[in-house]
Structures are given as C-alpha cells and as structure tokens.
Symmetry: C2
Subunit: 439 residues, 2 copies
C-alpha cells in the first residue's frame, strides 16, 4: 500500500491536545491501515513547556515558540486547541496566513467569529475544520455535511451540554435539588469550578449556532437564538415531569416551519419519556436530526472529555489530509455568503405546548379564576394535577399543561396570573416539546 | 458559486429507485446549495417500463435497454438497485467495465461476492459505494470510514433488521405470541410475505459482515459469523426478560478480544433495559460502536424504507462526485487483501452470561439436581426465579441466569440437563449481553 505522510502542528497542549497526541501515537498503525495516511505530529506549541502532562511527548517536540510551527512550510495542518476567543482568533489568522489548514474544537470562537475566520480561510485557499467543536466525538458535523446531504433538514433537537445533562439526570433519578447536584458534580469533576456558560445555556447555544448553520445552510448569529438555562430548574418540576410521563432536559432546538422560517432556541423542555432523546442520561450528548428523506436519525455519544474530543480532532485531520474537507468548506462559506432572507421566527410567534406550575390559594373559586385567565388568552388546558396537600399560607401547587398555543399568549397570561390575589409568587412555565417519531 | 454537473444512471426502478429519483428531483436545489453539485438523472433502466410508479419520470427517461446506460460515457455514476445476487453481480461487472462507479444497496451481494467485486472495481479504477446496504439512512458506513477513523474499534452491537425488531417490540409491549405478531406485521406491510431471511437472522448477518469488515478492517465471510434467528422466541422468555430488567433483541455483535481475536454473531440476546440499544423500538435500527478513543457512539434511525434507503444512495452519489469515495475505497480493498491472520474466535470459546429456562418437576430435591449439573460444568448461578405456580404434568418453569462462562460449558450442561428425568422438554437458552456504557 502507498502511504502519504502528513505533518501536523498542535497549539495548546492541554486536555484535548494531550488526547490528540495520544491518538496520533497509539493509533498510528490503525489509522494508516484504514486511510493510507501516516500522520506525523511535528511540533507542539504551548506557553507551558515544563509541567508534566498525561502523555509524554518525544524529547524536543514541545516548544513555546509559535514561530517553529508558523515557519515550517512542511506542516500543512495546524490544530488550535487553546480555547478562548481573543488569542485563539489571532492564532487562527496567523495559522491561515502561514498557509495551514486549521482544525479547531473552539465552539465559542466559531459561534462568535466564524464567518470572519471562514472568509479569511477561503481567501487563503485553506479550510477550517470543526467536527470537535460540537458534541465531542459524535460525528455530527460530518453527518450534516455528507451522510445526510441528500436531505432538506426540517429540524434538529439536541442535548449538547454534558454538565447540564448530568445535573438534570441526577435530579430526575435521585430527587436531589439543583444546587446540591451542581456541588456534587463540581466535586466529581463533571462540572467546572465556574459552570456559568454551561448552566446558563450559552455553551449549548454556541453549538446550536454551528450545527443549525450546517443543517439549514445559513449564517446564524448568537442574537438569532433564544437562550434560557437550567439555573432556576426546581426539583418539583422535575418530579412533576416524571409523574406526567415526561423527562426534563436542556434542549437545543432548530426548526424550520412550512414558510421556511427558522426557530432557534435553547431552554429546559419537557419531552416524552418514550422519545429516544429522553433516554440520553448523564454526561452523554445526542442529536436528533429530521431530514425530509431519511426521517429521524439520532447520533449519541460522549459530548466532551479528552479522548472523545480528540477523536473528532483526528477525524478532521484525516478528512483534510484526504482532500475531502476543502471542497465542502468552500461550498459552505460561499453558500453562507449568498444574500438570502434566512428569516428567523420571533419567539412570540412560536407555537408550543406549555407546562405551568402555580401556588394557588386552597379556597373555593380559585380554579375558576386562573383557568378563566388562560381561556381569555385562548389557551386550552390539556391536563391538570392538584394533589390533595396544602402548603405554606394555605396554598397548594397546581400544575397545568396546555394544548399548542403561541408564546405571546402564554407570556401575557403569565403576567396576568402573577397579578391574581389567589396566586402566590411567580408562576413557573416550561415548554413541552413534542418530538415526533418522524416528520 | 460554481456548480459541477454529474450524470447518473439508475438500474432498477422499484421502491428504492423511485425514492432516489424523487430525491434527485425534489431536493435538487438543496443538494446544489450544500455541495455545489448538480446531480442529473440521465436514464433509468428497468425491465418493466409500463407499470405506473409512485414517482413519474420525465418522458423518455425510463428504458428497458441497459445499453443506453452502458454506452453513454458521460454517465459517470451508476446505481444498482435491482437486488438479488445473480443478475446483480453480472450487472456490477458490466457497469464497472464500462467505466462507471457503482452505488448499491445490495447487502446480500456484498456479503457474498464483495471481495471479488471490489477487486474488479479497483482494477477498473472505479469504486463501489454501499452506504445504503446497511441500516437504511443511518450514515454508519461513513462513520466507520471517516468520522470514527481515528479509533481502533473494539466492538459493535447492532439492531439491523426492522422486521425482527418490530416483532420483538410488539411481543414485549403487548405480550403477544411470535406467530400472531408475525402475521400482523405481514398484514400491515412491516414484514415480507416470505420473511425467512429476516427472521432467521441472515439479513442481519449480511449487514454485520459488511460493517464488521469496516470496523475491524478485515475481510469477513458469512462462514465467520454464528447466526441464530428469532423464529423460536417464546413469549415466556420475553416476559421473563422484562421481569429481570432486560429487553430481548435480535443483536448483531462484533467484538475484538484482548488477543485481537474477533467474535462475530447474530442471535437473540437479553440486554439491560438501561442500555440505549434497549430503547430502539419498532422498525428502527441502531448501531453502537465502541472506539478506543471515542468510547460508545450510537447511531439510530430508520433501517429500511423507500426514502431512508434512497437518502443513503444519494449520499454515496455526492461522496463519489466530490471525489471522497475513491481514495477510501482503494485503501479499503488493499487493506483487505494484505495477508493477515484475522483470527475469528470459535463460538465454543465465547465467554458470556446466559439465561436458561427449564420445565422442572415440582418435587423435593429437583433444584439440587439441576444446579448440581451446572456446578459440575463450572457454571455459577447469578439469579433464579421460580414462581409459585405449577403447570402441566406437575412441572414448574424455572429461570436461571449465570455469571460469565464459556459457551462450551453451557452447551455441555444443556445436553446433560435435557437427560435429567426431573426436567421436561428441551431447556431454552438465550445469551445475556452486557453492553457497557464505555469500554
């Protein structure tokens, strides 16, 4: 067999970088056998060249001089594994301008500066590959770009954040409160010391921006996505979900309606316990894609971690080295630059079902009062639960689920409910997302 | 944007062929936008050019003359969608020799004559693409060849046959007997009039031969696979599975052990109700792949049907037209032709847990007798159920699950159990497959 040698430079020898080096050395023979490529790690750049790492590089490979990589014209592919958006952006530009293709796992960078960097890559005749930026080792970018390329994508639903899913799974299975589970997750290393970007939904939104851009073939900005996190999820709502046959998940949703308008959102959602996404537990991620030919295809796997993410980085190296990435990338960028009216649907016009929980006074006539408010806003009740139990201040928790209605109706109704003297505190409202078996 | 026109010839205008034509016309704009390719269906060959079809082709496109396709040098890609292994094999040879790449959905042909056809394609400088041969629209061939290419694959577990999975799901959820569900499935069109190849496991084995060949990068013949079907599955065993927290599935299994020996088998299996594969219901298919870097990745979707399979055919057309398939294909064939000792593990040496159901006499000392037999064969009991109920001839069903033991121990023990006078009839034995979260 003829083999082709491909030289690689890595910037950022942290967790993922270490995993990539491990794969390039440990799986070298298997990769050559499958692809005919000999992937040669030529240099690793990191500002820290002294701390011990989990994978020991050959003597002299680790350097703190970026120039070693930039000036070596024999290195064709560079890996940006530093994270962040400031230094990383500058690094992308330098790498591209020195003639290297770039592989990145940096979703925040792409979600915020993707179009600019893509344009720069195109001008340099190079590509940016980003399988590792979304859902760790799950080959979802490739699936959207090639495996499902025959389809018009109608919708995608995803669980994109392992920290949130670990927390919600733990709350569901053990009945523990959010703050307790978060603390436990931090102690066990499943959540960062500062988990803000995870639990506020922004990390999920970054990935949705990238994947929905591929799925619907349009340029998506963070402002086009409605984002709500899980920081206010109450264990009571997790329990109520279970009682009604739902599971509470932080869902990323991209849907195209009959008029071609795209709805993009990240928020806690009740989904049927029978839908495959409901069974995605713990730190795992999954994406359900609906194509007009293929129907529902779901991909499932580890969404983060050293080796899973490194697996995606190396897949991108292989794709670039085989010449498969460049034509797809060029087409992607050019398709995104065509002037088009990719209309994003305002949240107010979203049609959904809703779960509402209120603390109502346990008195005659109360049910009539709040159900009247719902009726006035054209909201039809689909289910209700009031257990025979009275809480503080003679109030009782009441749970209502609705038939499909527009977001603006619910928003108006909630404001009015909050004013009712028979209701104590702020009503809780969570969207119920009905994921079909097929579209 | 520059577009490249690619002319396509289709042979076999049946269900899948009709779906392919529909995608090529209906999704043409979306495909061009995503890939820059203009896919042009140039001719459709079928022996029947008069019967009405679900998708009406433009006047003059349908012909019964294969020569129209073979002699048109401008047609670069041909689709073989006729099925069967005799005419189809000859057709592949003709298409390859006339200089065309071939896309096929024909798993039986590839499982039986793949190596010969692959060699022929290589000699002709063409490729055979076969995403559609396994699991309909699920992009599993692409995942194994590219998305997970950084990994050494350790195992794959799959539900590859929609008919079997529909039947087993229906038995599990409704407690109905095999023969009743099969008849209902036939009436509803979920099972063929002659479902032999589905229910005897051969269709699943064909797909396993192809996918395990890709996963483990070696040539696999049908003789290397142990195949058992679901024709003898009793509703009692489905119920017992549920009681013990398992779901009964027809599983395709490919596992590599620490010595590099490969175990390939298709058989009914008890799998934990908590494993994602257990939740794959009805006609859906799924494949769980374990890579040494990525861990467990599962792909899920419709494993058959006009449009799902057509989606995979068109994905292959796109991959060939972009030039991505040929290098991977050449490498695949050459890797398979390297002399190597791909050792297949004999079934006798398989280590597994087992479920055994016997009809035992309801008398003193009986439990001791059959548990003595198991102990003599070094089989350790992990669980047992004997409900307080007596059946015909004063017998009672007893269910035993074992700790891991070798197949040969179980086979010997079953023969001995069958001879015991306190046991009535033949013991039932089903393997329990423990699919880990990660390997």
């Amino acid at each position: 067999m003829n083999t082709k040698t491909v030289k690689i430079g890595l910037v950022g020898y942290g967790t993922v970088g270490t995993g990539v080096a491990k794969i390039l050395f440990d799986n070298a023979d298997a990769i050559t056998k499958r692809t005919g490529l000999k992937l040669e790690l030529a240099c690793v750049v990191d500002k820290d060249i002294t701390s011990p790492r989990k994978y020991q590089l050959p003597e002299g490979m680790l350097t703190d001089e970026l120039g070693v990589l930039l000036e070596d014209a024999s290195i064709n592919i560079a890996l940006e594994l530093v994270g962040g958006t400031t230094f990383a952006k500058d690094l992308h530009l330098k790498l591209l301008r020195s003639g290297k293709h770039v592989v990145t796992a940096n979703k925040a960078l792409l979600a915020e500066h993707g179009p600019e960097l893509f344009r720069e890559a195109l001008d340099a005749g190079r590509c940016i590959a980003f399988e590792a930026s979304c859902c760790g080792g799950i080959p979802i970018v490739a699936a959207l770009q090639t495996g499902l390329a025959a389809n018009q994508i109608q919708a995608l639903y995803g669980i994109f954040n392992g920290t949130c899913n670990y927390i919600l799974t733990h709350m569901t299975q053990h009945g523990a409160a959010f703050s307790d589970v978060l603390k436990e997750a931090q102690d066990k290393g499943f959540a960062e010391a500062d988990p803000t970007l995870d639990i506020n939904g922004m990390d999920t939104a970054h990935k949705l921006a990238i994947l929905a851009g591929l799925a619907f073939n349009c340029k998506i900005g963070m402002k086009d996505i409605c984002v709500e996190g899980i920081e206010n999820v109450d264990i009571a709502d997790v329990r109520n979900a279970l009682e009604m046959g739902y599971i509470l998940k932080l869902l990323a949703i991209g849907e195209k309606d009959a008029d071609g308008r795209i709805s993009l959102r990240v928020h806690p959602a009740f989904i049927s316990e029978h839908t495959p996404l409901a069974r995605v537990d713990g730190p795992f991620n999954a994406v359900s894609v609906f194509g007009n030919a293929v129907g529902n295809v779901m991909l499932y796997g580890r969404g983060a971690g050293m080796m899973a993410t490194a697996s995606a980085v190396v897949a991108d190296i292989i794709d670039i080295a085989m010449g498969n990435s460049q034509p797809l990338f060029e087409n992607l960028v050019m398709a995104h630059e065509v002037k088009r009216s990719a209309m994003f649907k305002p949240m107010d016009e979203l049609t959904s079902r809703f779960y509402i929980r209120i603390m109502a006074k346990d008195e005659p006539g109360v049910f009539a009062k709040y159900s009247y408010v719902l009726g006035e806003h054209k909201i039809s009740i689909s289910g209700a639960i009031q257990h025979e139990w009275t809480g503080p201040d003679n109030t009782v928790p009441v749970v209502i689920t609705t038939h499909p209605t527009q977001q603006k109706n619910i928003t108006a109704a909630l404001l009015e409910l909050e004013q009712l003297d028979v209701i104590s505190g702020k009503p809780v409202c969570i969207r119920i997302v009905d994921i079909p078996e097929d579209k």
